[in-house]
């Protein structure tokens, strides 16, 4: 699955306008701030207390249905009731204070959960990356020097970089070509063929790995018939079977093909809707002036959708950079196929080397910081226009 966390340029047309007159009378007392913090924290505190108490009931399957039902009731009804209760509580204060506190009862729980599940752990992980294997003593930059000098980690970084160079380029190129061509089909044919390309988007990375097991399957000669499609083709043409996943460095490419197969649908769908947004009048004018379809594409369509191409590209880059499941399931990182995210999990859970694992996680994070900055700047720019 692709999370699309990249902000497009023309987005954010909506905006906060606020209700009624903006509060001129800013309430700055310590008491109000205490109320604000309290109103933000009550709900997550109740939810988490509920969960930790509830968590002790790790029982047999008999409880599973009950757990789910309780969770749904708690998730919808309970959480709603808590928000409602907070709102009533806040309303009991004088209007001026209630008005200053209420937004925090609405926005606070989300911020508290984000702080607990993302902000605090991220800071903690950075700290762990400067500590030793078991997080017992600070070791300075040792973990970082290890991952940038030890050949095992260097191969891991090299592979991740190659994944990021190859997979998004292929997914965007194929997706763009397909979207452009499918645009010229009848509407029915277009929707059917697009669904076929898009279908892998619904498949998990683990499922995809199993799908491709029967493409890359290998039996040494004399050990039975081939059951993988590729070797079926190779042997029927008279060649000898190839062990696709153990032949370095090409095995990396074969693993990348799986992710290209998964991600092309995403880029195709987004680019397709961008292409349909290009005004027909422009293309029409170009055709009348004698432009070929090829010229019309490169001179008109492509420039009009280039910002979408960048957004799609970046989104796929973020997904690819964090790829873990495919390598984990297909090769376990053996045969020189290790990538950063999979090496990281290996360090955490197989070698129990938390220092190195955290350093690798930080590496994953640092690489997306430029995207984070661009997102924030774009957001700020959009807000400023408003």
């Amino acid at each position: 699955m692709t999370t699309p966390p990249v902000i497009g340029e023309e987005e954010l047309e909506g905006g906060p306008r606020g209700l009624g007159p903006p509060e001129q009378e800013h309430v700055h007392t310590v008491g109000v701030w205490l109320l604000r913090v309290a109103s933000a924290l009550v709900l997550p505190a109740v939810v988490i207390a509920f969960f930790f108490i509830f968590g002790f009931l790790k029982d047999e399957e008999a409880n599973k249905a009950i757990q789910v039902v309780v969770a749904i009731i708690a998730g919808i009804g309970g959480v709603w009731a808590l928000y409602w209760g907070m709102d009533r509580l806040v309303s009991m204060f004088p209007e001026r204070i209630a008005r200053a506190v209420r937004p925090f009862a609405f926005v606070g729980p989300a911020m508290a959960i984000l702080a607990f599940y993302l902000v605090y752990p991220a800071i903690n992980t950075i700290l762990i990356s400067f500590q030793d294997k078991r997080s017992e003593a600070f070791v300075g930059l040792e973990n970082y020097t290890t991952i940038f000098t030890d050949s095992f980690y260097l191969v891991s970084i090299r592979n991740s970089v190659i994944w990021v160079l190859v997979v998004p380029a292929a997914a965007v190129a194929i997706g763009l070509a397909f979207a452009t061509m499918a645009d010229k089909l009848s509407r029915r044919a277009e929707s059917i063929t697009k669904s076929l390309i898009f279908l892998p988007m619904a498949i998990s990375f683990v499922g995809a790995s199993v799908v491709w097991t029967f493409v890359y399957g290998f039996r040494p000669e004399g050990f039975g018939n081939q059951i993988g499609v590729l070797n079926g083709i190779v042997t029927s043409l008279g060649g000898s079977p190839v062990n696709w996943l153990q032949t370095s460095p090409w095995n990396n490419l074969f693993l990348m093909i799986i992710l290209i197969w998964l991600q092309t649908g995403f880029s195709m769908v987004i680019l397709s809707s961008a292409i349909k947004g290009v005004p027909d009048v422009l293309l029409e004018a170009a055709r009348i002036d004698g432009a070929t379809e090829w010229q019309a594409f490169w001179r008109i369509t492509f420039p009009s959708i280039s910002s979408t191409v960048v957004v799609v590209w970046t989104t796929v880059v973020i997904t690819v950079w964090k790829v873990f499941d495919i390598v984990w399931v297909m090769t376990g990182g053996l045969f020189d196929t290790q990538v950063i995210a999979q090496t990281m999990v290996d360090e955490f859970f197989t070698n129990f080397n938390f220092g190195i694992g955290a350093a690798l996680a930080v590496l994953l994070f640092i690489a997306v910081v430029p995207i984070l900055i661009v997102n924030v700047q774009r957001f700020r720019a959009q807000e400023a226009i408003r």
Partner: protein, 296 residues
């Protein structure tokens, strides 16, 4: 945010193009669509084959004996459902539904406040949300796992629900806030004049109006959680009574030759619900994707 699929208008020039000039397009499209379908199709065929033959011959050999009843069998599905996949299916449902519902509710309240309320720190907080959208969840694994271990809640469903809620929140808040902010202020102001407070404006007006974006995010998050392997592996683990489909499938894939004949059916058991959701609600799903990355 209004992700439209504009209907392709047939222009005169398009009509003029002869069938002849289009055949390279037909061929290329067919070849790509064929290549993209073959891996899944092969797996589907394999999953219904008689179990021993999966290990002895490639799936394409059935083309010679399509009408031979000895070729086909439902035995693989029966075996995998008995051998843990039925249970894992239930576990995955138990993980997925709350992991969708909880973040949506919390995000909706926050999004409303960001869109329609004034408060100190609003921009700073929202910028933080925007920034958190790209923070890899790998950054959170160890610290959260340590807290969970201290409280002995690793391997429980609520542990995974809240983790998924936390990791899904930034995108949810971002999408919902943009949508809610684009709703016309006039309806909300008139409700305000009628004396409605924020809570009832939110519950009676904004939530019903936001159903499209709520649905898009719900489908997106459902597929994400259903297909997730890493979060489930770390926080729920590999104990047979709690493990989810992806963990079960990865385990089966790791058993090698012996389990090979069960893999195709097992993989389809893991894929069936996302595929149904995907085909039934494709429009919403595409809209969710589009909304997340570009203005549709």
């Amino acid at each position: 945010m209004t992700a439209t699929t504009q209907t392709p208008t047939v222009t005169p020039a398009k009509e003029k193009e002869s069938r002849f000039s289009k055949w390279p397009i037909y061929v290329t499209i067919s070849v790509i669509a064929f290549l993209w379908t073959i891996p899944t199709l092969g797996l589907l065929i394999n999953s219904f084959r008689e179990s021993a033959s999966i290990r002895t011959d490639g799936w394409w050999t059935v083309l010679g004996s399509v009408f031979d009843s000895a070729t086909w069998s439902l035995e693989n599905y029966r075996t995998v459902l008995d051998e843990g996949f039925g249970n894992a299916f239930a576990n995955t449902l138990a993980v997925s539904i709350p992991s969708v519902v909880i973040p949506i509710t919390i995000a909706a309240f926050a999004a409303y406040a960001f869109a329609w309320m004034h408060f100190p720190g609003r921009n700073l907080m929202f910028v933080t949300v925007v920034g958190l959208m790209v923070v890899p969840l790998q950054m959170a694994l160890i610290p959260i796992l340590r807290i969970y271990t201290d409280f002995d809640v690793t391997g429980t469903f609520p542990a995974v629900w809240l983790a998924h809620a936390g990791f899904g929140l930034p995108l949810a808040v971002y999408l919902l806030r943009n949508y809610m902010g684009s709703l016309p202020s006039s309806i909300i102001e008139s409700a305000n004049i009628d004396g409605a407070d924020h809570f009832s404006i939110f519950a009676r007006l904004i939530v019903p109006l936001s159903v499209p974006v709520l649905a898009s995010f719900a489908i997106f998050q459902f597929l994400w959680v259903w297909n997730d392997y890493l979060v489930a592996l770390v926080f729920l683990g590999i104990e047979p009574n709690v493990r989810v489909l992806t963990v079960e499938l990865a385990d089966l894939a790791g058993r090698g030759e012996g389990a090979l004949s069960l893999l195709p059916a097992a993989a389809f058991v893991t894929m069936v619900l996302p595929l149904v959701v995907f085909f039934a609600l494709q429009r919403f799903f595409v809209r969710g994707l589009t909304a997340g990355s570009v203005k549709g």
